[in-house]
């Protein structure tokens, strides 16, 4: 079984400041890793994913994440946030040979002017 821990439930940040959202996972098998974003009153949208290859993954809207296998982490970063980045962010993992995604509890990012 897999489990995902998002270390911060709420992250307040000022506009144009950098932000990092932390995600750790545990799994006995190799996994794919994902970050999803949920804007208010909407479904989830994929930000980025790690399947294989380079451990630094770039996604949409200026986000990037780094896979660290030894620390079983997949932290999400953005160097300069906008008001429109206010949303809930979910980290998720999926075993290579399974359909299922396991999600973290989510991190709410609130960007202030």
């Amino acid at each position: 079984a897999q489990s995902v821990t998002q270390l911060d439930s709420q992250v307040p940040v000022f506009e144009e400041a950098p932000v990092e959202l932390r995600c750790n996972y545990s799994s006995s098998v190799s996994v794919y890793l994902f970050w999803y974003v949920q804007y208010p009153n909407q479904g989830l949208q994929l930000l980025l994913k790690y399947l294989s290859g380079s451990t630094l993954v770039k996604g949409i809207n200026g986000f990037e994440a780094e896979f660290n296998k030894s620390q079983t982490s997949f932290h999400l970063r953005k160097p300069s946030v906008h008001i429109s980045d206010t949303a809930e962010y979910f980290c998720a993992v999926s075993p290579l040979t399974d359909y299922k995604l396991s999600f973290g509890a989510g991190t709410t990012v609130t960007v202030r002017a």
Partner: protein
Amino acid sequence: DVKVTQSSRYLVKRTGEKVFLECVQDMDHENMFWYRQDPGLGLRLIYFSYDVKMKEKGDIPEGYSVSREKKERFSLILESASTNQTSMYLCASRQNNEQFFGPGTRLTVL
């Protein structure tokens, strides 16, 4: 673009009612999923379907059933709604390791 639609954005039902939540995808995906989303718990898998008429229980199937008679449609059924089923319900379909989500149905059971 992949489109996943859900029949209602908001739904209010009474305890004991039978509730149907419908999900339709337009990209011929084989795999479809139903999740519920609760604050502080993230998304939890209720059921998934890997093909027409095929289904498998997820992590929290109790109190729910599903139906998949056609490839594009996956229905979640609450046989007798209870107040602890008040939640946001999200449907997804999957292709190439990526899941595509619908907008969600916020269900309130009174």
